[in-house]
Amino acid sequence: MRTLVKIGEKAKMAAFRAQLAWKGRRGTVAAAIARAEQKAGGPPRTGLASRDAGRRDPNRVRVAAVQMRLRLVTSGAQFAEEIYGLARRAAEQGAELVVFPEYSGVPFLGLLPGLARLPEDTTIDQAIAALTGDNAGGNGSGGNSRDDATDSGGVDNDGVPISAYFRAIAPGAQPAYEAAFSEVARRLGIYVVTGSIVVPDHECTVNKAYFFGPDGQLLGTQHKTHLVPEEERWRLTPGGELNLFETPWGKIAMPVCMDATYFETFRIAALRGADIVIIPSANQEKYVYGRANRGIWPRVQETHIYGIGSSAVGRFMGLTFSGRSAVIAPLEMTPGRDGFIARAASPEEPEIVVGDLDLEALRRFRAENPLFVNGELYRRYLPALYEEARRRRERPYQ
């Protein structure tokens, strides 16, 4: 009897995985995008002289940050249609590089059976509890909240970490996610930073961003290197490297959200040659200027590069996300001397934010405003002090 129960459970899992693979297959995704394109009146007029990477103006690029509301999806096709629609709007405005927010792949939680039918404000913990019949407590559901919220500790009642649920849907979610963005990039002839999705990486689970080129090829990926408390409780693993990608406009880095809270991220990227740093974000908090301005904006000012920040907005599974997406430059290079080339009008509503980057102007600015390097000072203390400082902060005040 026990063997029959085990076989039954195995069969269920096999069937679930097969269903996921079916919902996420590339052919379905590509067909959905083709239908979406046809419904929109055919290929968009993007104004691109050529899709050929070698024939793009290396000194100028129009970029777009997609400020996006996250919505559960139940298939790769549904996801692909939404992504295509947003990217198309950006491409129609001439954008050659389009950025999506962090957790753009979290909607694939809708692949978990029954989850999409739960009330809209159901949190991730509550949803898992409902699906598994457990009573997972608390409300720790992800995002990048800095509030001191209580939560379930990132595990369900059996002690299974929330990351396991992301891993469970990965056989369907991950190929669908990759296929959707690859096909969107190829169809529209644009570069796309996908935002991110939580997926397995061997034994680890990571928050992973992708970068696709205009022929749909994968240029590379980036794991988030600085987690937030919820992600640590989910048992995610931080990335160990900051990758740079060659484009017609020079090197680009795409660390994720909280990575921008740490000057080290941008300093490393800039000193390694990045002229553009992209930050997909999902800030789980109501918009307050003081809180929102602790990431990409000051990092751009410190390093004299261009920044593109794309934010998730709106309510999703009981969480509130807020923006504001923006295209950012050093203060003196912007019309209002406020560091913004373009910025979302609202921190709460979906929007496509478009801005133009002039790489020649950036190089001139740097030549006129060189950054000072005090190598002797840095050698004395960096990186030696980090571990000790971390331990000191974790001791209570006396």
Partner: protein, 292 residues
């Protein structure tokens, strides 16, 4: 670790009147004696730590040090003040005097603008700390406010308060301050006390006491600001240029180690350092003095 307690601090904005000479390069010194009354008022308001701007001085540095040491002793406060390069000294330096007139901390500016380099100013190569009742303090002198390495190193070494005597060439508006000490306070979860010099036609001030946004009115990151109520100091009220005060003024604020503990517990930034990543690239990536 010594017991720590809250302290009231005062940050001063001083307007230098050179009688029409706005070059600000020669002949200017701020005599502390006339300022004693003002400093005394801050003490009467409960301030135990007073922070003054980066001041020009053409006399011998020993005389500068003696005069301000005497002021600190007379009033009985911790007194931080900056001295611009001049009078035979080629560094901008921050001084912290104790209530007994001692000098527990002296710090040279460690990062320079292009114009400072061209003027022959030399950068310091170390960052030191002093122990005060409210915690450890360090200096970000002048331009150092805009270099994250300075403030990170200070915080890694245990600083809870960053003293910032500055003289900022105008225009000096909301966003430029946000890119400077304000952001360093946020990413290191420390207090910052900026004291600015006004010199019409040259320097503009935005004197303020700053803290992690979570523990400030309106979550603006300001506990006090010379230009108005702290809770209004956000992008909605940003101006592109600061309005000069035209006279000496100071703001006070209470800084309490418990506030930092609250901010750090709420979000432990240091806990999530990616040390393997930093070890991979620091310090070699700086190429020992290469400017980019």
């Amino acid at each position: 670790m010594p017991d720590r307690r809250a302290m009231t601090v005062a940050a001063f904005q001083l307007c230098l009147d050179l009688g029409g000479d706005t070059s600000g390069t020669t002949g200017a010194s701020l005599d502390p004696d006339p300022a004693l009354d003002l400093l005394g008022r801050a003490k009467a308001d409960g301030a135990e730590l007073l922070v003054l701007p980066l001041l020009p001085d053409v006399g011998p540095p020993e005389e500068f040090s003696r005069r301000w040491s005497e002021s600190a002793r007379k009033i009985g406060v911790f007194l931080a003040v900056g001295r611009m390069a001049g009078g035979g000294v080629n560094q901008n330096v921050g001084y912290l005097f104790g209530p007994d007139g001692s000098l527990p901390l002296k710090q040279a500016q460690t990062h320079l603008t292009k114009s400072e380099l061209e003027a022959g100013i030399v950068a310091g190569t170390d960052l030191d700390l002093a122990e005060l009742p409210c915690g450890r303090v360090g200096f970000a002198v002048g331009t150092d406010c805009w270099y994250p390495e300075v403030n990170r190193i200070l915080a890694l070494r245990g600083a809870d308060v960053i003293l910032a005597p500055v003289a900022v060439s105008g225009p000096y508006g909301f966003w430029r301050q946000a890119a400077g000490l304000w952001e360093e306070v946020q990413q290191n979860q420390v207090f910052g006390i900026e004291a600015g010099l006004e010199l019409p036609g040259r320097f503009e001030g935005r004197t303020a006491v700053m803290a992690p946004v979570e523990v400030t009115p309106g979550e603006t990151g300001y506990l006090a600001h010379v230009l108005g109520p702290a809770e209004l100091m956000d992008e909605g009220h940003a101006t592109s240029r600061s309005e000069p005060t035209g006279a000496a003024a100071f703001v006070t604020a209470r800084i309490d180690p418990a506030m930092l503990e609250k901010a750090r517990k709420g979000f432990p930034i240091f806990h999530f350092f990616n040390v393997p990543l930093y070890r991979r690239w620091f310090p070699g990536i700086y190429e020992g003095g290469t400017r980019r």
